[in-house]
Each structure stands twice: as C-alpha cells, then as structure tokens.
Amino acid sequence: MTFLQQLTRYKDIVLYRTHASIKSEARQSYLGYVWFLLEPMMSTAVLYFAWSYINGAKGFEAILTILIGMVAWGWFESSVMGGAGSIKAKFHVLNQFSLPKWIFPVVTILVNSWKSLFVFGVVLAMAAAKGLIGVHTLWLPVILLVQLMLIVGLTLPISIAVTLMHDLTTVISSVFRLLFFVSGLFFTASQVKQKCVEGNTPGLYEAFLWNPMAVLIDAYRAVIQRGESPDFSLLGRAAGLALVFLVLGLAAHAYFDKKILKLTNV
C-alpha cells in the first residue's frame, strides 16, 4: 500500500486521534486550552526581559520579533521532538493493532500544528492592531506550508532512527538546543548579516541561511512585521531540503514499518 493509499485509509483515525489528543491535553490542566497561548507568551517574556537588557531593543517591535520566533520555533521543536518519541511511546498499542507507524508522529505534528496555528492567529491579531498587516501577509500560508513540510520531513526519519537507537534522543536534543541559539529567535537575520559584514565573515552569514528554521523565522517576520515578501530563493531552498527529508522519511517508514517492533528493545 502506498503512502497516499494509507493516508486515505487512516485519515479518520489520524483526525480523531488528533482531536482526542488536543481534548485530552487540555483536560489535564486547570487552565486547559489557555496554556496553548500562555506557553509561548511566557517563553517570549523571559527572552524579552533577558535580551532587551543586552541589546537595548525594547517595546512592541522587539516583543513581536521574539514572539514570532518563539511561535515558529515552538511548533518546530515540540512537533519534531514529540513526534520522534511517539512510536516508542505507543509501542503497547502498535503491538496489538496493525497500524502504520507514521500515524503517531503525524498525530503529534497535527496536535502541535493546531496549537501553533491558534497562537499564530493571536500574533496576527496583535500585528493587525498595530496596523502591520498588509498584502504581503497573504504569503503566510505558503511559509506555514513549507514549515509543515520541514517538520513532517524531519520527524518521519527521526522517529524511526530514535525508535531503533534510543541514544539519538540525547543527540537530537543537543542539536535542537544549538539550533535554538542560531535560528534567529531573539535576533534578526539582518543583525546577523550586519555583524558578519563588520567581522568580515560572510561565510558565517551564508551558513546561517542554510538553516531552514532561520529562513522561515525571517520569512514570517518579513510578511507579518516588515511588510515585505519573503525571500523566495531561500524559501525555495528550505522547501527543497524539506522535500528531501520527506522522501527519506517515507522510504524509512516503508522499509521499517513491519520490522521495527521486532528490532527494538523496549
């Protein structure tokens, strides 16, 4: 069965599980759905207070810069890290039912995507209140789609790799910690460019632009905050990278789907 045939066959279960997981998550805490918004707001507040003292950037602009970075990053990190461990977390279920293994990473991604879309809506409302929304904001769905492709593309192969070799979880956490600091969450791409020009290190800026998350975060800021179109060549490169990961991930799932339970030590 091809991936598309599986998608058609299992779409109901994916959607129902996503809906059930969102409900279940909200019921686990007193504040429920409010946490979906509160979590990125709190991280933004912490980063803002720390960073505004260092670089002196204060006010709504600085908050919005960090908030956009945090929402995009939060979506990326929680989806990939949560999705990576989701096969292992559902081993007892997979040992009883004949289900394709991608279901659980995809459900994790959809749950986090729904939460992030909700927060993106709030960010847009904040930007609109300040009169920042314009015609360029119409590019937002394209950027969201590229990020979703990147998330699915990374999560699929990582979910197989982490299930087969648990140690990779630690390695991937470290890579994510590094990416958190180099993806431009609390600084902008133009600041990186300026520093690289001043320091005569253009290679560093080029390396920065090979990070698809840095490109995506800058693209969000361009269309929401700066009233510009995204850099299409960089966005296209990020989409190309995402596509490569996606193909790799689908191939890994097709190969290991029925083998992985026998190969894993849980």
Partner: protein
C-alpha cells in the same frame, strides 16, 4: 553507550499452518513457544522474515482481541470506545452507531461518559471487551483472554465469546490451557519452539500435549 537491539531469536520458523474459513482453531503451548508472535504475524503486526502469510480474501479483516489497550485516561468511555474501535479497523460511523450497544453491554452506566482514569481495572476491561464485541472481524484472534471482570461480567463475557465461537466467524484461540481449547475449538495445534508438534482433533492434541510437554519444561 548504545541501546542494544534484540538478539536474533527465531520465535517462529519453518511453520506451515492452514487456517480454514469458519473454523475454531486452538493453539496450545507453553509460555515462550511462539504463540503470541504467530498471532502478531496473523494480525499483520509483524512481517515474516522468511516465508509468507496469505489470505484467500484480499480485504480480510483480522483482529487481535485486546482489552483496553490504547485507552486515553482523560477521555470518556464513549470517546475511548470510538477511538479503540477505529484502532481495530472500524470507521468512526460504525462505532458511533454501536455506542448504545457498548454502553449497554459494558454495564458501565453513568461511568460510560466519565474519564477512563476514574475506572477500576475491571471496568476498563469491561469497556475493552464490550468494544471488541462490536467490531465484527472476519478472523478473531484471542490470546488467553476469555472471561473478564467481576463474577457477573465473567459469565456475560464468556457467553458473548461463546456466541462468537458458535457463528461462522473464523476464530483462533491461543492458550497454555489445553482444557479451554478442548472445550471451545474444533481443531487444535500444539506449538513448541515455533514449530507444530501435533495437529488435529483437540482432545487428541491435548492428550499428546499433556504427555509430551514435560520434556520441554525446564
């Protein structure tokens, strides 16, 4: 240090087994004889590293009876019933249409609409069993599970299973208890180290099992 993957163990190898439509096949054997691996192979959970498992019908719905696996504690019994049925291959619509029957059979009453984390383990089993009884697979695989729950529900669940056995559905029951297989099945197989040691009439296979199993027990 790297996590070690499982050593290469052949739980089932060189097995040649036909299961006929409508029959009630009992597979008996000690713990670790390969029964559960065989069930997972039949259910399509594992792929065979050697040989193949084939079905005469392409869309054959094979289901391994599992009680309460995959329940989400924060969701209600009704929500979990739908979710669980979908895991077993049924559509959301199919399960929604059968919610009343599941509520009725489980006897959970008002608890059916309460989160599953409020259930006792027996109540969870009752819900799981009631869901499984409404999924109607072509081939039902039962791994040691027969009557579950308290005294009243044990009778009720055994009765429901007897009905499944009485119909024309194909049932494969695995158990280390030869008496259960003698009582419930029309044909039996004795499995040891992933190979068939005896096959045929349940009473005859059970007799061979009782006679010979000692040689394989440490």
């Amino acid at each position: 240090m790297l996590s070690k993957t499982k050593k290469e163990i052949w739980a089932v190898r060189g097995l040649n087994l036909d299961i006929f439509e409508g029959e009630k096949l009992g597979i008996m054997g000690r713990n670790g004889c390969g029964k559960s691996t065989l069930m997972r192979l039949l259910a399509g959970i594992y792929s065979a590293d050697e040989g193949k498992v084939s079905y005469s019908r392409k869309d054959c719905h094979v289901e391994l009876l599992s009680l309460g696996v995959g329940f989400e504690g924060n969701l209600s019994g009704a929500e979990n019933a739908v979710l669980n049925g979908m895991l077993m291959g049924k559509s959301r619509k199919h399960m929604l249409e059968r919610l009343d029957a599941i509520r009725e059979f489980s006897g959970l009453n008002e608890f059916f609409d309460m989160p599953v984390y409020t259930y006792s383990s027996g109540m969870g089993l009752r819900l799981g069993f009631s869901v499984a009884m409404e999924t109607d697979p072509d081939v039902l695989l039962i791994d040691e599970v027969l009557g579950v729950g308290d005294e009243v529900f044990v009778k009720k669940s055994e009765e429901a299973l007897k009905q499944k056995f009485a119909g024309d559905r194909t049932v494969v029951l695995i158990s280390h208890d030869a008496a259960t297989i003698e009582r419930m099945c029309t044909r039996a197989v004795w499995l040891e180290k992933g190979k068939i040691l005896a096959e045929g009439n349940p009473a005859e296979v059970a007799a061979k099992y009782h006679q010979g199993v000692g040689a394989y027990t440490n």
